[in-house]
């Protein structure tokens, strides 16, 4: 192998201080709302209440953080029309931006994306980076070292990401097949394709949910004291990315096989994700259901956990649906309406 001397030299070279050119602020320009554009009425009806009539982010709805200003031209997930259509379609879990998949037809969403881009500055073409992995029409599973989920936390040398076409990515630590975080947006940058390799993957999405340890105890505690979950396979079948793993008791003996399928989930209440567990053998429990909500400021995390009917005897099927952050109405009636509509759609 090449001597590590060269790596040191390369690193030293890389540490030259960057020269930042002097920048002058852009000149203010008059706002053109493109009133003749066919999507203008759609925008006023669906978007303006949060994003403002001119797309300046100053809408009338009370939000705990300002809505995106389209005039600035920067977007959460890139300024390509595809990214905007996806955001309009699936929403941004963990934020007040809802999903319009049911409310608007695809053609309407595409028109809105085009219109919203017109409200901003003229775009430069950004080069796609060679190492960025993009999820297209089928889910993608990538394995690599995971960086800390929260700052100051540990890296995980064995990890994987499942990316969905809806723009969600599920981050798992594979040593014990534990879901660590859910992200939304672009997928991943393979930083380990640079140099000698060995760097952590860079998940590109915005974190919409960090899972606490023990949050899956409701699934696995019923199997008694478990030593661990042993990774067995990742699959992309039937349009879904999923994981197969084995439950082992403390002596390493087989307890059950698990098939876990994480997917995007959207409803009128908001955007989030679902996880389905098929556990074999397991006692089916189709009657159980538990809904919960946790309020944090102006947002609430909604969760539904339930048993489903099993395709076969002796297979336990469980489902967890999470909306990490929806706008929580101020009044009790509005709250009930929201929960009812969430549960109705989740249970369908």
């Amino acid at each position: 192998m090449l001597s590590p001397i060269l790596l040191c030299a390369l690193v030293c070279l890389a540490q030259q201080p960057a020269q930042t050119p002097a920048q002058t602020p852009p000149e203010p320009k008059p706002v053109d709302v493109h009133a003749e554009h066919p999507a203008r009425p759609l925008f006023l009806a669906n978007c303006a209440q949060c994003h403002g009539e001119t797309g300046d982010g100053q809408g009338t709805t009370k939000l705990d953080r300002q809505a995106r200003s389209f005039q600035d031209g920067g977007f959460s997930y890139g300024n390509t029309p595809e990214a905007l259509v996806r955001t309009i379609t699936y929403g941004i879990p963990g934020s007040p931006m809802p999903s319009f998949e049911k409310a608007l037809a695809l053609e309407q969403r595409k028109q809105l994306a085009e219109y919203v881009l017109l409200l901003g500055p003229v775009q430069e073409k950004t080069d796609a980076k060679d190492s960025v992995m993009v999820v297209k029409d089928r889910p993608l599973v990538v394995r690599g070292k995971l960086p800390p989920v929260v700052e100051g936390g540990p890296e995980f040398p064995r990890g994987l990401l499942i990316g969905t076409p809806e723009g969600l990515s599920f981050e798992y630590r594979t040593d014990d097949v534990r879901l660590l975080a859910v992200r939304n947006g672009e997928f991943a940058d393979r930083a380990d394709w640079r140099g000698r390799g060995g760097d952590a993957l860079v998940p590109l999405g915005k974190t919409v949910h960090v899972r606490e340890s023990g949050s899956d105890d409701w699934i696995f505690a019923r199997f008694g004291a478990l030593s661990r979950r042993q990774m067995r396979a990742s699959e992309v079948l039937g349009g879904a990315g999923r994981l197969r793993y084995e439950l082992l008791d403390p002596s390493g003996k087989h307890v059950a096989n698990v098939l876990e399928t994480p997917t995007a989930f959207t409803c009128s209440a908001g955007a989030g994700y679902a996880r389905r567990f098929e556990i074999d053998p397991g006692v089916p429990d189709p009657q159980s259901a538990l809904a919960s909500h946790e309020v944090h400021g102006a947002l609430a995390e909604l969760k539904l956990r339930r048993g489903l009917a099993s395709p076969r005897a002796n297979v336990l099927v469980l489902e967890e649906i999470t909306l990490p952050g929806v706008l929580w109405p101020a009044d009790a009636a509005g709250q009930k309406k929201l929960m009812d509509s969430f549960l109705a759609e989740a249970k369908r």
Binding site: M1, L2, R143, E155, P157, D192, R196
Partner: protein
């Protein structure tokens, strides 16, 4: 030594042979934009070629043997793997070894794309170090796979390979059911793991620490192959918790490699494949072809068994291919060569697949080298020309050996010309025997033959071989290895760099006032539970201090490496407490054999935190000094102050025996007061019993020296912007400033530095004395003005490095002479006065307040105090506050 030189010489006398006349090379054509950095190759049963790459892709190539490479089509089968440095097709299934798992790849819905990646095994150790590659992927007749695991390389001592997780530096065996068993050890960067066609497991390692050049091993199970870091995971080291030395050779037998391959031919050897015995690749059936990345070529190894030791000759086979890391013969004799060199370097092309083919014309080569007691029998591929006469002057032969040491690689040592050369040819002129009078075992023999011509008028295509003579065929067995034990060279840098010696020379200055005593001690012969204290400065003891007091430092640190020496009387006890919150107990366990939280080296519990007993007993007896060394990682907090990561003790050792590893400290020790913090003092507990401590050193870790916001004060090669004053001479070259001459100063031309931080790496020599002057000026006559931070290790002046002249002396010897240290000085006007503070190696060690505000601004100056004093300075920079 490239044969090109020989070829150049040969042009004046002989026909020249050209490899391209016998072996053609072409390249498969991946799709545009696809970077196929090959890590593994094998053929599917239907003849398609499967490739795995360093970017975690698996490609399948249709029609790989097509005459026109454009007709070999690539299809992406899988992506998203974490590297893929070995691939094997077994029973029609594709297996790939990724960095962290051995996987089987399947296309269960038969759409041509992999949909299922099964984890066959993911239980070998990975610490996350960037260099932890996993290579493969041979399998044996029982269906077991073999994977070799690279060591890790860390900062700052990147030259020492380390085994940071289980089985790094080992070959592991993985059964069909995925069970992992350790197989063999003593490897460094074992890139080329393969098998010959008789089922022998073979491995090439790469030159570096403990590897003089690249070796080729016949792997011996359960045996040590030469690189010591991996010894950590052997049962013997695990039981004794010994840590393999990075610099001292372990006293144990090593497997001798079949080949030590000359540095000029190979620096980064990849894997190997047996050359077809049916002659489809020319005359070398049954020998090995080996991939070489740096020189971009394929070598040949011709091996034989000499009294139970595999050894033999290596020679060049085909050069100018590209950065070859993997070789695999197809059924028609085509040699497929997988290429990559990203991050490693090598002759291009740096990616893709080359196909090397023999065109059917037999080259004139030394086909086979067979060792005899006093020389070599060479079987030639063609008979020698009748006119060719053997002449000893045509033979240049040397023998040499290597050093087996921690330095990166070894030159050839003890090179001697072999003498008494005689030659004889066989009757059919296809055999040439070379005799020497002094051929020895325990050395490599390199033999070069000039002037050989075949009957058909060809010159030798490759005229040199290197034969590793582990053993001769007769006589007493040689027990001297070719890579020999030598006294270890000195450590690469002074071991004191980065440390602060916080009791040296003045045991109290860096600590809060207390009643601990500085003394020499012995055990009281009348009562071994007590020390007898005498005048001296060998230790700090708390005996007789009532009420009991902790010894608390007045400097703080975050992450650090810590060294404390400790001696205890019978029944004595103390604890080393980081921040006063996390305690490691040092105590005489008495008669108690069982390891518990009362034992030497225990991590003490909190309210809920269980603590951790040590892994082994470590108390050597009352009155005996013990060395405690450990790494501490401070807790982490987010911007709102919420803790995001726990503090940790990593690698707690007493006398080099590992007692604790990776202990997460979920809360402070029971009875500790105060919240958890990111930085804090070092505390020696005085209330647990009687103890004596000394030799305390702290090395702050992960101290960043970022470039942004700092302005270098010195150009790399000149002293522009500075002026010499007085008799000192200042030499600045290649970013190193060195002082000399008589007393004087080097002062900035600018004289308006006011509020700033100044940093530099400094070194002061034995007997030298210097200072960094701030807000200063040096008039032609009279004393210099300004604030001065002194730099002094061993000059008689009592004020040592870190002293602030006239305000706050530091008589403690924080850093020794001739040792680089990091210095940061802060100079700031505050309402209360001018504040000067000094940080050394990342920790603040001194601070002073000039309430008279004597100096408001001025130059920065470096002082040369007297002739013989030498100050060295690197990376001098300033940043305004």
């Amino acid at each position: 030594m490239f044969p090109f030189a020989a070829l150049l010489l040969a042009t004046f006398q002989q026909p020249v042979a050209n490899e391209a006349d016998y072996y053609t090379v072409d390249y498969l054509q991946p799709p545009p934009g696809a970077l196929v950095e090959v890590g593994g190759m094998d053929f599917l049963p239907d003849g398609r070629l499967a490739l795995s790459t360093r970017r975690g892709q698996v490609w399948i190539v249709d029609n790989p043997l097509a005459a026109d490479p454009k007709d070999a089509h690539f299809q992406l089968f899988a992506e998203g793997l974490q590297e893929g440095l070995g691939l094997n097709v077994v029973d029609g299934e594709i297996y790939v070894v990724q960095r962290s798992e051995l996987s089987r790849l399947r296309d269960t819905d038969h759409d041509g794309v992999c949909d299922t990646i099964e984890t066959v095994c993911n239980s070998w150790g990975v610490s996350g170090n960037y260099h932890e590659f996993a290579y493969g992927l041979p399998n044996d007749a029982e269906g077991n796979f073999y994977v070799s695991l690279n060591l890790g390389f860390t900062d700052p001592k990147w030259w020492h390979g380390r085994s940071l997780a289980p089985y790094r530096g080992w070959i592991v065996q993985i059964s069909k059911s995925g069970k992992l068993s350790p197989y063999a050890y003593g490897f460094r960067s074992p890139c080329g793991l393969g098998m010959d066609d008789t089922g022998h497991l073979l491995l090439t390692d790469n030159q570096g620490d403990w590897e003089p050049v690249c070796p080729l091993y016949y792997v011996k199970p359960d045996a040590f192959h030469g690189a010591p870091a991996s010894l950590e995971w052997t049962p013997q080291y695990q039981e004794t918790k010994a840590v393999p030395s990075l610099t001292n050779p372990p006293d144990m037998p090593r497997v001798a490699p079949a080949l030590w391959m000359p540095y000029g031919w190979t620096r980064s050897t990849g894997d190997m494949c047996t050359i077809p015995r049916d002659g489809k690749f020319g005359p070398f059936g049954g020998q090995l072809a080996l991939a070489e990345m740096t020189n971009g070529l394929v070598l040949r190894a011709d091996l034989e068994d000499v009294r139970g030791q595999m050894q033999g000759a290596c020679m060049l086979l085909r050069q100018r291919i590209g950065s070859a890391i993997r070789v695999h013969f197809a059924s028609d004799g085509t040699l497929f060569t997988g290429l990559t060199n990203r991050g490693w370097g090598g002759l291009g092309p740096s990616a893709g697949v080359a196909r090397v083919r023999w065109n059917g014309k037999t080259p004139f080569e030394i086909e086979h080298v067979h060792l005899v007691q006093d020389g070599f029998e060479l079987a030639l591929s063609e008979p020698l020309a009748p006119s060719w006469k053997p002449d000893p002057a045509d033979v240049i032969a040397t023998q040499y050996h290597y050093d087996w040491w921690w330095e990166y690689g070894s030159p050839e040592r003890g090179t001697r010309m072999l003498t008494g050369t005689t030659l004889e040819t066989s009757a059919d002129r296809k055999q040439l025997v070379v005799h020497f009078s002094d051929l020895a075992a325990g050395e490599v023999a390199k033999v070069k033959l000039s002037g050989l011509v075949s009957a058909s008028g060809q010159a030798l295509l490759h005229d040199e071989f290197a034969y590793t003579v582990n053993q001769l065929p007769e006589g007493p067995l040689c027990d001297t290895p070719v890579a020999r034990v030598v006294p270890p060279p000195p450590a690469r840098e002074n071991g004191s760099e980065g440390w602060l010696r916080v009791c040296y020379g003045n045991a109290f200055e860096m600590w809060k006032p207390s009643h601990w005593k500085l003394a020499d001690f012995e055990l009281d012969p009348a009562d071994p539970t007590k020390f007898e204290l005498k005048d001296g400065s060998g230790a700090l003891a708390n005996q007789g201090v009532t009420p009991a007091e902790d010894y608390v430092s007045n400097f703080v640190f975050g992450d650090a490496k810590i060294h404390v020496e400790c001696a205890l009387p019978k029944g004595g006890a103390t604890a080393v407490s980081v921040f006063g919150l996390y305690d490691i107990r040092l105590a005489d366990p008495g008669d108690e054999q069982k390891l518990s939280l009362s034992s030497m080296g225990a991590v003490l519990p909190g309210e809920h935190f269980a603590g951790s007993p040590p892994l082994l007993p470590a108390f050597k007896g009352p009155g005996t000094w013990h060395d405690l060394d450990f790494f501490f990682r401070a807790p982490r907090f987010d911007a709102s102050g919420k803790k995001t990561a726990n503090a940790r003790f990593e690698r707690v050792m007493v006398d080099d025996v590992l007692l604790q590893n990776q202990i997460e400290l979920t809360e402070p020790v029971k009875g500790a007061r105060g919240p958890e913090v990111a930085q804090g003092p070092l505390v020696i507990r005085g209330g647990l019993g009687t103890c004596a401590v000394g030799g305390i050193m702290v090395r702050p870790l992960d101290v960043e020296w970022i470039a942004q916001g700092w302005t270098p004060l010195l150009a790399p090669d000149e002293i522009e912007g500075w002026k010499e004053v007085g008799g000192g001479t200042w030499h600045n070259e290649d970013k190193l400033l060195t002082s000399g001459g008589k007393a004087g100063f080097l002062e900035t031309e600018r004289d308006d530095y006011e509020n700033f931080e100044l940093r530099a790496r400094c070194k002061i020599n034995d007997g030298g004395l210097s200072g960094v002057w701030l807000r200063a000026d040096a008039p032609e006559t009279g004393a210099p003005a300004g604030y001065c931070v002194k730099l002094n290790a061993s000059h008689p002046d009592a004020e040592k490095t870190g002293s602030i002249l006239g305000f706050a002396p530091r008589t403690v010897h924080l850093v020794p002479q001739d040792t680089w240290f990091d210095l940061v000085v802060r100079c700031e006007t505050t309402p209360e006065g001018n504040r000067i503070s000094v940080r050394i190696n990342g920790s603040e060690v001194n601070s002073a307040l000039d309430t008279a505000k004597k100096f408001t601004k001025g130059r920065v100056m470096l002082e040369q105090h007297h002739e013989g004093s030498v100050l060295e300075v690197k990376d001098l920079a300033i940043h305004a506050l």
